[in-house]
């Protein structure tokens, strides 16, 4: 335990000094402010409280930002140690490879938790300011917060795995950005195109839901939008999102971080320094 804490403490210091903490917090705060300003139009027509509406927009934002911030923090984690020559040294200490990863993940999750608390906090404050009924949306906000952390954890794990496989920080950064583009942007576009082409056929009814669950970002979006009536109404979703039971999207969100961490451990074990 002290070993994991020792890694985490140094890593958090590095994140502070490299301005990672500042960048992540500022980015979340900025986007939250923009969202709140943009979402200040009357929402009474939808029947949803202001905070639920905010959570719906924050969910769409988090799907892009959280994986990006997580990957940016993670890509250097192993490759950087390889480049500096400190990885072989670390591995001669009485410290296991999973412990090394756990320490780094702890520090990066803490950074993410801070950034999300500030960003979501600002957005929530703005919602309360404009709508006294906003308290109705608090459970949805809490749900968004901890699932965002799980989503972040997933992409941290994937980022560590890429970092260990690439061995060089430059290559790891390239892989991380490519993965973000594929999983977050292209994946949904591809699914959309397939659903349109399929026109309500077998793919749409039987394969599409599983493909949504297989992508951690889609599972995250599904769960947060479908878990609350008000958010679902605000987001105007139906169809696919409604047809997938909540426990399935929740299961996917909960399993992904474990899977990603296992992937990272496997990649690091494969690495001979």
């Amino acid at each position: 335990m002290t070993r994991i804490a020792a890694i985490a403490q140094a890593e958090f210091r590095i994140a502070l000094r490299n301005r990672w903490v500042a960048i992540a917090v500022a980015m979340m705060a900025l986007f939250a402010l923009v969202l709140s300003a943009a979402g200040s139009a009357p929402t009474g027509a939808l029947g949803a409280d202001r905070l639920s509406v905010t959570v719906a927009s924050l969910t769409s934002l988090a799907v892009y930002l959280v994986p990006l911030v997580a990957l940016l923090m993670a890509f250097d984690a192993i490759a950087g140690e390889v480049e500096r020559g400190t990885l072989p040294l670390m591995l001669t200490y009485p410290l296991s490879r999973p412990e090394l990863l756990a320490g780094k993940a702890l520090a990066h999750l803490l950074t993410l938790a801070l950034a999300l608390a500030v960003g979501y906090g600002i957005a929530a404050a703005a919602a309360f300011y404009g709508d006294p009924r906003a308290a109705t949306g608090l459970p949805a906000l809490a749900r968004l917060y901890w699932t965002s952390l799980l989503l972040g954890g997933t992409f941290l794990g994937i980022g560590y795995a890429l970092s260990a496989l690439a061995r060089r920080p430059g290559a790891a950064a390239g892989l991380a950005i490519a993965l973000w583009l594929v999983l977050i942007v292209l994946y949904d576009l591809g699914l959309l195109a397939a659903v349109v082409a399929d026109n309500g056929g077998y793919f749409t009814t039987d394969i599409f839901p599983w493909l949504l669950l297989a992508n951690p970002a889609d599972a995250f979006r599904l769960y947060n939008l479908a878990a609350s009536e008000a958010t679902a109404a605000a987001a105007g979703i139906g169809g696919a999102a409604r047809s997938i039971p909540l426990w399935q999207s929740l299961g996917a969100i909960a399993l992904w971080p474990l899977l990603a961490f296992a992937l990272a451990v496997a990649a690091l074990r494969r690495l001979t320094p």
């Binding site: 002290t2 070993r3 804490a5 020792a6 890694i7 403490q9 140094a10 210091r13 590095i14 000094r17 490299n18 950087g80 500096r84 020559g85 400190t86 072989p88 040294l89 670390m90 591995l91 001669t92 200490y93 009485p94 410290l95 001979t272 320094p273």
Partner: protein, 297 residues
């Protein structure tokens, strides 16, 4: 009981032999220098001993345990070659982290940094350190918890001569307390009298494992006599002594240990033709190249 035993250790990279049937041991208090050109296999040997890479055949015993096992890791310290710590941390924070990883309080960091002469820079970020100072940070972490065996990969590269002397003084202290030390270098001049034994690797083959005196004797390299002839007499001296003229006044003679006196007598016999004579034993570099050349394919 030896601290480290290698028997018939062989390691290949994609069919390319990096270490070929290497065997030697290190006893407590022994300082052993591992010498060899770049690519001779020094770092590979150290990584095998640390359990960082698997060996192909042979056996390694570290403190009576397997390389990389918990027991071995607890008692072995390592200084990797060209290590660069994170530039954003201070020396104090970095050493504090390593202390905690070994289960010791981080408060011991200042004392360790003072031991390697970094006391004043302890609170500065490593990014501002010179190469020699970074090397000292590496050395400081290797001193944590009184290790039984130190594996130091080119520890004196990047150190100025004064720092190098301080480093060897530190090593003397460790050895006196019973630590075994294996350090590598690509120059015999860097380690010379400061180690107890010298192991020379050449293309993965161990070509020597002896004390410096032993190496000198086994190499049996010729001694050179540098004879300075008087003005204008160099040609005459070279002819009469059967030597090589190297410039206007200098004549060189090679001779073996046993006929050194006879040759000196000959020189003395020339009397007035001679200005001065110097006996030059084989240099450390000569001895080193003698051994490291032998196994070249």
């Amino acid at each position: 009981m030896t601290r480290l035993t290698l028997s018939r250790v062989t390691k290949r990279f994609d069919g390319q032999v990096a270490l070929d049937d290497v065997s030697f041991g290190i006893a407590p208090g022994d300082r052993v220098a591992l010498l060899g050109h770049n690519g001779a296999g020094k770092s590979t040997l150290m990584k095998l001993v640390l359990g960082l890479i698997p060996l192909d055949s042979g056996e390694i015993s570290v403190l009576g345990a397997a390389p990389g096992s918990r027991r071995a890791r607890r008692g072995v310290a390592y200084l990797p070659e060209n290590v660069a710590f994170h530039p954003a941390l201070t020396g104090l924070e970095q050493i504090g982290q390593y202390l905690r990883l070994r289960g010791e309080p981080a408060s011991g960091a200042q004392a360790l940094l003072e031991r390697v002469g970094l006391g004043a820079a302890a609170r500065r970020r490593i990014g501002t350190y010179s190469k020699g100072m970074r090397q000292r940070v590496g050395l400081a972490q290797a001193l944590i918890g009184k290790p039984d065996l130190l594996i130091l990969d080119e520890p004196t590269s990047g150190l100025d001569p004064v720092s190098r002397r301080e480093f060897y003084a530190l090593l003397d202290g460790l050895a006196a307390e019973g630590a075994a030390v294996l350090l590598s270098s690509h120059a015999l001049t860097e380690v010379e009298a400061r180690t107890d034994r010298i192991v020379i690797l050449s293309h993965g083959v161990m070509v020597a494992n002896d004390t410096l005196a032993g190496l000198r004797k086994r190499a049996a390299l010729p001694i050179e006599l540098h004879v300075a002839a008087r003005e204008g007499q160099a040609d005459e001296v070279a002819r009469r002594l059967d030597g090589r003229r190297v410039n206007g006044s200098q004549v060189r003679l090679d001779c073996h240990h046993d006929d050194k006196l006879a040759r000196l007598e000959q020189v003395a016999g020339l009397g007035a033709l001679i200005d001065d004579v110097e006996i030059v034993p084989p240099s450390l570099e000569d001895i080193y190249s003698h051994f490291s050349r032998r196994a070249a394919p």
